[in-house]
Symmetry: D2
Subunit: 151 residues, 4 copies
């Protein structure tokens, strides 16, 4: 992988992109750090992400893994292209610490013409052992095409 | 699989269980139909489940698949046991119809002493082709144990 | 899904295709039955598929699931196109019966322009409960393109 | 994760274990390097692993990923315990180089009382970009129990 690739979007550009395009979740996510093929994201855990006992819900962990790989792709191909999630697999390995932010560390394993694949480890902020792992695949529509899930 | 198994919880009992145990999502889900090893659920789609364009979000689809298999297990083993999601895989195959409920049709493929496995097809209400498929695995803590994710 | 689609290849054509294109495994697999979007395959279990104790190996089950969905696609789009497996997920749920053929029941859930998705249940011949479930995704190269995994 | 854990089996002990317990595949795999929670394996590619064009088959890649995580567990818990694969997910991202060994780099993400989870990147020997990624889950039977897939 050409790790000398230049970023088309840095942390500030990615955070502004989320605010603009996904207003529903703009207060949930924060890009902490991005370099080509690697990204670190934070889920700012709030009441709406919790299950009884204060643990972060499965859908919130799925959403964090999804946005992590998605933004890593955007950082490399720019905000115009529309990638669509086509596959995900997750293992939930440990109970997240109650009422604590989640940190996602993602790496992009493939950025092809039509498909991109990345994987992610999720951590409760400050803990060494991951609470979950995920792999996500995206379909990247050809430039100029209507971006829909008809792949 | 012993499909002559009796249900320990019917639709009304499962819906009451969700209201009591998961107050955060009680207005999201409705058990439509349950028989041993098969269940049909509805996601009552609201603004909070949508992405730009009115399409249902990935986390909302994940959450529907998760609760579908979870309640199918509860229907057979009763509300006392605490099952924990350990693995999921999803394929997102078609764009959901905008502003339309999702219907989940789940089947339980294994109900073992320690692990349960089910799969699910998700549909936009009224459509024939599924928008997504999912498989979910749950760890079932031994009776009497503290139910945590330390399996 | 247009289940009135016509098959481009029937059982005999699919079995002849495997013999010609995959000579390494031609004695392993037999197409039992195919209709649009559904297929039944048999793994003719031999010594090379077994692990100690006579149980069918994981790679043999993976291979059966893979060829099952692949041939279901070929039955609909014909033998000229070259589909490439891009993703798989499997749950191994029960120990296969020793020295017994495996039966795979596959269904095609999506046949798009670029991606196809199917799922499969695997059974020890004669048993009611499945030994494994699988989902497989294939990338379908555009007509006329060099078929490689560069998607 | 207690990365100061001691290994119960080193490279030589793991290779001898494969020879003794899996005679069918003993010429396929070689443990190159193992430290707590990380392992490097080699698939000695032979005619039986290939598909037309000389590319390594999907089942051979599955088998390599499976044995990689399995032996990483054995290295930590010793050869007496019998772990059973319960779940796998794989993304096939690039075409392997023809007639070239595969190298698997695995890491163990969780080693619990009942479940272990690891992930793996597969490479054609000498190449920088991975050909596939995998995650594998194992059920670890309680000490003293009959080891079967009845979890």
């Amino acid at each position: 992988m050409a790790k000398d690739t230049e970023l088309l979007m840095d942390e500030a550009a990615l955070n502004a992109f989320v605010d603009r395009v996904f207003p529903q979740v703009k207060d949930d996510f924060h890009v902490e750090h991005v370099v080509p093929y690697e990204i670190t994201m934070r889920l700012l855990v709030g009441e709406r992400h919790l299950r009884p006992g204060g643990t972060v819900s499965g859908p919130a962990m799925f959403g964090l893994a999804d946005v992590t790989v998605y933004l890593m792709i955007m950082a490399l191909i720019g905000p115009k292209a529309l990638a669509v999630t086509t596959n995900s697999s997750l293992d939930f390995m440990r109970k997240p610490v109650a009422n604590t932010d989640l940190i996602a560390k993602g790496r992009l394993l493939k950025l092809g013409k039509a498909l991109a694949v990345g994987d992610v480890l999720l951590y409760s902020d400050g803990m060494e052992a991951p609470v979950a792992r995920a792999a996500m695949t995206y379909s990247i529509p050809p430039a100029g095409s209507a971006a829909d899930q008809s792949a």
